[in-house]
Assembly symmetry: C2
Homo-oligomer: 379 residues x 2
């Protein structure tokens, strides 16, 4: 468990980067940062981007330089990686369960601004104990289920009850609502996606009002993702947006449609798996050195970049299979063993988690090597 | 990019292991080692287990203590991890392409017995150059496509031609045939699986004979996996078997059928994802702290252990969703937040690649922490 060696040296040509590797097109990445900042300018919502996507404090700090208020994450180990990489304000947008993790979470709250979510009274009691033992007061948000059917208590009265439990705990403070509708992010049709988001927004709005009637103020009302951020931004209800994938994008988000039914293009692909053709025996097939351990296929296959007529059709542990249709116009590049190609990840988050390094590319050269310090931080 | 901290301390109770973690049931693991050794006893084939499954030299050395002749692997980084962990004989059962990797491969051949595969004449020339520069003679096997439609030249004349090219290279030696039929491993019905394996065996046998007629001897005739090992072992053609999953097993291999149409039970599940219930809001649902970054779903969902009526129905990045059917007999364990459960991986190889540590369990206690040193060794 030494880290894996870096696949590149700063200054080398992109074509010399060893494969498989994660390439960041730095110009596209920076355009995505700016586009999101511009898109939410003027709304009451600030960005708190999800670091579960990039797992890299260098990226989180770039997001903060574009106006983000901090980062969110799902695991204590991710929060530690962000804090130790210089991020001063982290929301764990998830439940943290079990004494070893709670001890670490409370200890981290002595070193940075840390908030966490809860959906269970026993867990709130455990959070209180851990915060007390560490001598900190921890802000705890109530997670409400606004349609994802995953974690979270029901909006309305159950949320109020849990908020009161938090507020009454000696070492906790009620910190607001976590109201993320994960499933809605990937609804393809714009109007259907908007409808799902609006339902979540309405449930959240009512719960905020109920809490307010009972003297409880939401410091944070957080949620939203790359698929719905514009709806929550315009809602007047949410004040923090937790989009993560927008910095890199992937094939899955690329399947969303915009309001005209065209492909969603608010952001562009800035992350690529760089891979080498390792076998080319038949005319209709090429094999890449990137398989299930180099890219995640949970949300469908990745897609080839710059290669019309070439389709990524299957992945085994260490091999990616390409089908080549030479009849497609523009498919005139005859892939041969040793050729390097760019692949757009099918699903960005679990793909990033397979790597220790981002290779930053600008003008065809390696400009930076960023360590993915929260890679594998499952706990 | 420090390694992830270990999730346990040697000597602690299993219930105290932090989650998600990879548990090895050491008794079951050792039974699997012995069963495979017993199953192939008396055949001309020796075991050269695939380390792409376990990525851990500790496991490879245990396999060698049960008669394995060495290890195989897919990547130079895996080979380095095995050699530096004490494995003296490694076959890279794959094509290695590109100068940076070939330099490392040839350098490693000065430190251990290293062999590699090829299916392309340009790649053979590059292997020759790298071996010459390092001052080594490298054994190169010809990979033949015996039905997998992935890498490998066609059996027969194309294999002979490539073998001659290897043998004529100044710094290479023809080392035999790599003849692995990946797709056949997961054919569920016994007779269909056997038929696929027999086809591969026949193609391999003919190619061995053709090579022999041309004065070329196969030091290694290698292939086979956990799904078909008994056919290659009994073939009289193969002398090395590359099964890997047998040490741990998974849900996918558990779907294979034996000759009576019953579930394949040559080996038992010895590897488990240990996970914690982190949310339990509704009666029919529980959420685990293990999602796509803790288990691979490429070959289908994982399965719950010891919990009748509880099904693993979906994974998002950091959450696993359980559906609970209380009407199922025996489903009397009322899962609550904080409970820890064992999950059988859907597909073992990419799941292992998500972790840095195996937690070895015997008699309910942590007996060992084995580092997964080839985790992430993609290059």
């Amino acid at each position: 468990m030494a880290e894996t060696p870096a696949p590149a040296i700063v200054g080398m040509a992109m074509e010399d980067v060893d494969t498989p590797a994660l390439l960041v097109d730095l110009d596209a990445f920076e355009r995505n940062l700016k586009r999101m900042a511009d898109a939410i300018k003027g709304s009451k919502a600030k960005l708190r981007p999800h670091s579960k996507t990039h797992k890299c404090p260098v990226v989180a700090l770039r997001q903060m330089a574009h106006g983000a208020v901090g980062a969110c994450c799902q695991k204590v180990g991710e929060a530690e990686a962000m804090v130790y990489g210089g991020v001063p304000d982290v929301l764990v947008s998830n439940q943290i369960v079990g004494a070893p993790k709670l001890v670490r979470l409370a200890a981290l709250a002595r070193q940075a601004r840390i908030r966490v979510c809860a959906d269970n009274t026993d867990n709130v009691a455990d959070l209180d104990t851990a915060a007390g033992a560490a001598g900190v007061v921890l802000d705890v948000l109530v997670e409400i289920d606004v349609g994802a059917e995953r974690c979270g208590v029901a909006p309305g009265a159950p949320a109020l009850a849990l908020a009161k439990t938090i507020e009454q705990a000696a070492n906790l403070k009620f910190g607001g609502l976590q109201a993320y509708h994960g499933r809605s992010q990937h609804i393809r049709a714009y109007e259907d996606r908007r409808a799902a988001a609006e339902t979540a927004i309405a449930l959240t709005k009512d719960t905020v009002a109920l809490l307010s009637e009972n003297g409880l103020t939401c410091d944070i009302v957080g949620g939203a993702g790359t698929g719905t951020y514009q709806f929550e931004a315009g809602s007047g209800v949410y004040n923090e947006l937790q989009a993560g994938s927008y910095v890199f994008m992937d094939v899955d988000y690329g399947k969303n449609e915009d309001e005209r039914g065209a492909a969603f293009q608010d952001f562009e692909n800035s992350l690529f798996i760089y891979a080498t053709v390792m076998s080319r025996v038949t005319d209709d097939r090429a094999i890449l050195d990137a398989g299930l351990k180099a890219l995640s296929v949970d949300s469908g296959m990745p897609r080839m970049c710059d290669l019309p007529g070439v389709e990524f059709v299957g992945a085994s542990d260490e091999h990616g299979k390409l089908a080549i249709d030479k009849s497609v116009v523009g498919s005139n590049r005859d892939l041969k063993v040793g050729d390097k190609v760019r692949v757009i990840p099918g699903h960005v988050d679990p793909t990033v988690n397979l790597y220790d390094w981002y290779v930053g590319i600008r003008n065809g050269k390696v400009e930076s090597l960023w360590p993915i310090t929260a890679r594998g931080m499952l706990r």
